[in-house]
Amino acid sequence: MARFELLELDDEQQSDFKADGRLRAFFTLKKAFKERARDGVTVGSLAEAIGRDKGQISKVLSGKSGITLDTFILLMCALGFRLSFVAERVEHMRPHNWTAEPYAAPRLTGNMGLTTLAMRTNSSTTSNSSTRVLVGSNG
């Protein structure tokens, strides 16, 4: 069985993964709020539910302000959603069958991302740092 090799994240990769995670959280919150808004939930009522200022919550929901994990959890709970932190193994991730990506090859940057990591764990030989994965090009 191939050993998993930890990826040492450089500054750019760290920033990219943090931004990716935070944005996923934002869209999750946004989606939850929109669903409940159809049932009459307002920014004001949501803020009141967790004892926060309406203006602050409005900024969070509009993306003008960041949010702590605690506040994120409270907002989701108040909206009636239980968060489920299910971790997905990168080695189990597979490209989608369909993609809108044009014929042009994906942008190759110094940020290898975990795409390369997936290759490392599936490969019988150790990959070097220049390994790249081209995914999903249209025919």
């Binding site: 993964f17 944005l23 946004k30 991730m93």
Partner: protein
């Protein structure tokens, strides 16, 4: 709309070959999703890779772009807005809002449903000071250079944001 000598895909390929645009292809995860296209003018590409505000901000810009491409819900004034006011209102220019601080705008237009061409960017505070007209003029000019025989697509936001279907 006039018929072009080249198909849209051929024309886009030529623009890419001439380095006039490039596609934002998210590369963080192996199962990355791409249901919309996002073309970047070199100026916008540079902004996303090396903004003056630093590495962290660049990552936020790229994350927004990746979320757009992945099909997240951008049918929201907080994320994407049609510039509908002024003499150039409703000609199809849209702004993608970069969340968090500092707040920038990326402007461009839809070439086809699910396909956005980002042509310029500006800081929100500067836009508030100088108005939108200078950047609107720039976006119009760049669009004309890239797509002389096409107008920006003008449709409801939900229609513009639907999955790219490769229409002619």
């Amino acid at each position: 709309m006039l018929l072009t000598k080249l198909s849209t895909e051929d024309h886009l390929r030529k623009l890419v070959d001439d380095k006039k645009i490039s596609h934002h292809s998210p590369g963080l995860w192996p199962d990355r999703k791409c249901i919309r296209r996002l073309w970047l003018h070199p100026v916008v590409r540079s902004f996303s890779e090396n903004p003056d505000a630093g590495t962290t901000y660049g990552a936020k810009v790229r994350a927004i772009f990746s979320a757009f491409v992945a099909g997240e819900d951008f049918d929201d004034d907080d994320l994407l807005k049609n510039l509908s006011k002024g003499p150039d209102g409703n000609i199809g220019i849209h702004e993608i809002k970069i969340l968090w601080f500092p707040k920038a705008r990326v402007l461009g237009g839809f070439l086809r449903h699910g396909e956005f061409v980002a042509l310029s960017h500006a800081d929100r505070d500067l836009l508030a000071t100088f108005g939108f007209q200078p950047i609107i003029n720039l976006v119009k000019e760049r669009w004309k250079e890239l797509f002389p025989e096409r107008e920006m697509l003008n449709d409801s936001r939900s229609e513009l944001l639907r999955k790219f279907d490769g229409a002619v």
